[in-house]
Amino acid sequence: MNSLLNINDLHKIYDSGTHALRGINLDVKEGEFLILLGLSGSGKSTLLRCINRLIEPTSGEIIFQKRNIVKTSGKALRTIRRQIGMIFQQFNLIKNLSALTNVLTGKLGYVNLVHSLGMTKIKEDVITAEKNLDRVGLLEFKSQKTRNLSGGQQQRVAIARALMQNPRLILADEPVASLDPATADSVMKYLGELNKNDNITVICSLHFLSLARKYGTRVVALKDGQIVFDGSPREIDERKFKDIYGEEAEEVEIR
């Protein structure tokens, strides 16, 4: 399998002095569904945000399709960003806009300002957006303001927005942490589907080992900004789990 993303010796030191990432080396293959495990504060979010430069890495390199993301800026950076969709724990939709408009914002990286202003009126854009909303089963909610949607529905709109980008890679930062177990599984199912059917690589941080085993093809665990485990989900036994989450931790099952 081809390598899609290659991270070499990545460091991030925040202004506050926190050393959040301490030399991450990671090679993500095309088509992988990579699960990031680790305690809160272990550096998962920082790592994900460094990949699309929402956070500026302190040092190291991130190679995506033969280009070093760390070194790009301006238009070139935006061209890379538009190929990388992102899903957030808090969904991060614009709450007083309709679901359809939110999905359309996924197209912003591809169009100029004038085009983007008229986007809700441009037929082919609207058709693509509707198609993507339909894929997550929310076409009937297209003109609803997203604040009126449930958590699970909002996260599915966010997935449709990411799909609008036509991404090669989706970064998901604890996408199910604010959802109930049943909804969490349905959201993960959509991500799994995209991974299998559209061959979109997914890097997803999670807290539930059961979901990691069900959807992940590979698990990487972080602890204090370093990778402490990298392997198949089946390899994580109780010993490894305690290594990652500490001796006190008990595995919680969610089905």
Binding site: N52, L54, R78, T79, I80, R81, R82, Q83, I84, G85, M86, F88, Q90, F91, N92, L93, I94, K95, N96, L97, T105, G106, K107, L108, G109, Y110, L113, S116, L117, A158, R161, M164, Q165, L171
Partner: protein
Amino acid sequence: MKKDEINIKSALQGLVIDLLFWSYLWGCLYYLAHNWLGLILNYKYLIMLAMFSSGLFYLTGDSIGRKYFFPSHLTSRKWFKTLWGWLIIFSLLITFVVGWDIVEINPYKFFTKFKNAGGITSGIFDPSIIGYELQTESLEKLAEQNLPEEIIEELKKISGRKYTTRKVFSRELEKRLDPAAYDKYKQPILKSAIKNTEMLNKALTTLAETIFLALLATVLAIPLAFILSFFAARNLMPKTFLGNTIYVLIRTVATIFRSIEAIVWAIIFSVWVGIGPFAGMLALMIHSVAALTKLYSEQIENIDSGPVEAVRATGASTLQIWIFAVIPQIISPYLAFTIYRWDINVRMATIVGFVGGGGIGLLLLQQQQLLRWHNVGLIIWLIAAVVWSMDMISAKVRAKLSEM
């Protein structure tokens, strides 16, 4: 208890505080002694007195300055068992007494001089909606009705004079005619008088001027404040030297302009462009720009950063991020603030009129100086009605907006 660092700077600051405190105390005492007892003292001695007592107290445990900078000097004694506690109480008391004297507070006047307000009170209860006036044709009409010659002669004297209300007119008649004649001919005279709504028309015209003045001041302030607010929002400005400079500059200028009251701006502009509504509009506009820039930018600083992050992650440009992630979040609070500002501006427009800003404020000033209390009454009612309805409408609209 934390051990204090002994340093010269704190010690000096403590001494300065003591000196200021004692200067103030002696100053207040001298003010009272001078005003009530006629005592005259050279300021030299006052300063020496203050220096002497502050120096003395600085050395004791009752120094206020030392307590402020060296908290460990605070003893566990209750304040009312210490000299410095009583000193502070004494200084507060003397401040109140001196203040009472300076402001010339006089409750006696408040209760006994109420009759001075008779003119304005009767004006409020009898606003001049319809004015009365006798003209040649009314006198002719009265002559036809066979009114006695001497009454017509008497009425001729007041022909052409304008009376603001029916009551004022009848009072004038009562004064000029003997009681029997007044009772007998009051009705036909009143009927023959020419009635006008001149004052009402004028008040309504200037009121419209005021409302439009406030509206234009607000409307013209919106685009300026809107653009400025983006540059005055910490979370949108890049953390570079340039970004910081722009932010600080806009914030500072806005704060200065806002701290200058609209009434002061009106004085400046009434000299600049001449007395009239244009000056008033400029005054309100400049004040509104400053106020709205602050409110708007604070709103931007309070937005949810999540959507901004999400839209940035799609590869959107900065301008696209502003349009799609920032503006939708601020649009309804912006509208609410703007309507509220209009509401404030309508109220301010009246005041601004007083100092040359045109509109109903100017009319009010003129009528007040002419002692036409019934016209003043009418104007007050009209202003109250407009302010009240603006207040209600803006509250309703803002409540609706907050649901959005």
